[in-house]
């Protein structure tokens, strides 16, 4: 091989430039990525966001919020699932088919995929339970919630 490798100060200069260029590129790419991700990527809309954006009936959407206490109903015979999804400000009636995930509970989080109907209710094709980041053993005497129907 007849390749001339840089020696001494020339080599250090070339290395420094390469290193700085690579680090600068990394920072630039990272900055652009963060900006784009944070502003444009939407996984789900809250009920209030969906209302404010006037999501059209029939358009596929994903909503996230909490299952309103007292609203969760599931009939195993008809496989009819109903609950109200709320973000504290706006309430959306969700209608689904089939048994919900066992972690779906009143007062806990949920994400639903589907479409809005003309009456404002949301017909869900997929119901996903969301749990928080807390982990703790059940308090003495209390039945763990995963064991209660």
């Amino acid at each position: 091989m007849n390749v001339r490798h840089a020696r001494g100060p020339e080599r250090m200069g070339a290395r420094r430039v390469l290193l700085i260029a690579v680090l600068a590129a990394a920072v630039l790419i990272g900055f652009v990525a963060v900006q784009n991700l944070a502003s444009s990527a939407v996984y789900y809309l809250t009920p209030t966001e969906a209302r404010d954006r006037h999501v059209a009936t029939g358009t596929a959407a994903r909503l996230g919020g909490q299952v309103e206490t007292g609203s969760l109903r599931y009939d195993p015979q008809t496989r009819d699932l109903r609950f109200v999804l709320t973000d504290g400000t706006t309430r959306v009636s969700v209608i689904g088919t089939g048994a919900p995930p066992s972690l779906l509970r009143e007062g806990a989080g949920a994400v639903v995929e589907g479409t809005f109907a003309s009456d404002g209710s949301f017909h869900a094709s997929q119901v996903i339970a969301k749990h928080d980041e807390q982990y703790a053993p059940p308090s003495p005497g209390a039945t763990p919630s995963h064991q209660t129907p």
Partner: protein
């Protein structure tokens, strides 16, 4: 001439002990995770996957950060030892990432109700996995040692940006994946003390596994380098 590494990696004394410690740590961690740690009030016993999923994720972040440092080391010094460290750590990182993605999926089905969804945490994790698989593929593209090492090092420096993005994604955007339980600002870790201790032991065990794998893979790579440089000389 590229300078070759002067001394071989200390293969005799360290590696067997790393292996033994890793095995011992794994046994202790398994017992604590499956038996000793309490059940969770909300999720029941399925939450125990946390003791595999979280340590693997953290070790993958560490592995890719090591790739970043080793890449800088190669770019700055051109010593082949850094390239060996980079490829070894990248391979272990890719392995651990694949494993924690699968563990997460297994956890997701009985809890969330789906095997997968394109929420910000999962998307950014999939991107991180692809980038480092790409890192390994990039290395197979050239046969010239120095060019391969430099190209890989450039990618190794750039790709590390995704790690904080993966972690912070749940804080920046609406996501299905819950907020961080341990690595969060303000407030102590949101888990019971016994669970926290178990998680700590599991992290230690997986760290030993990481170093054991890293040492083995580096030693293989340094052997290859030695043979390659001897063949040239």
């Amino acid at each position: 001439m590229i300078e070759t590494t002067a001394a071989p990696f200390p293969t005799v004394r360290v590696r067997p002990w790393l292996g033994r410690l890793a095995i011992a740590g794994s046994l202790i961690a398994t017992f604590m995770a499956l038996v000793w740690a309490p059940t969770d009030a909300v999720q029941g016993d399925v939450y125990r996957i946390i003791y595999v999923h979280v340590p693997l994720a953290w070790l993958a972040y560490l592995a890719f950060f090591v790739v970043f440092l080793a890449s800088l080391g190669w770019l700055w010094t051109k010593r082949p030892w850094f390239d060996a460290l980079a490829v070894a750590s990248a391979e272990v990182g890719v392995l651990f990432t694949g494993m924690f993605i699968v563990a997460g999926s297994i956890w997701a089905k009985p809890t969330w109700g789906v095997w997968w969804t394109w929420d910000p945490r999962l998307v950014t994790t999939a991107v991180m996995f692809m980038m480092y698989v790409g890192y390994l593929l990039l290395r197979s593209l050239s046969t010239d040692f120095s060019r391969r090492a430099t190209r890989a090092a450039v990618l190794g420096v750039i790709a590390v940006i995704d790690i904080p993005i993966v972690h912070l994604s749940v804080l920046w955007m609406n996501s299905l994946h819950q907020l961080p339980t341990v690595l969060r600002a303000g407030g102590s870790p949101a888990l019971d003390a016994a669970m926290g201790m178990t998680l700590g032991i599991c992290v230690v065990a997986f760290t030993l596994v990481y170093f054991a794998f890293l040492a083995e893979r580096m030693s293989i790579e340094l052997d290859r380098q030695r043979r390659m440089f001897e063949a040239r000389a």
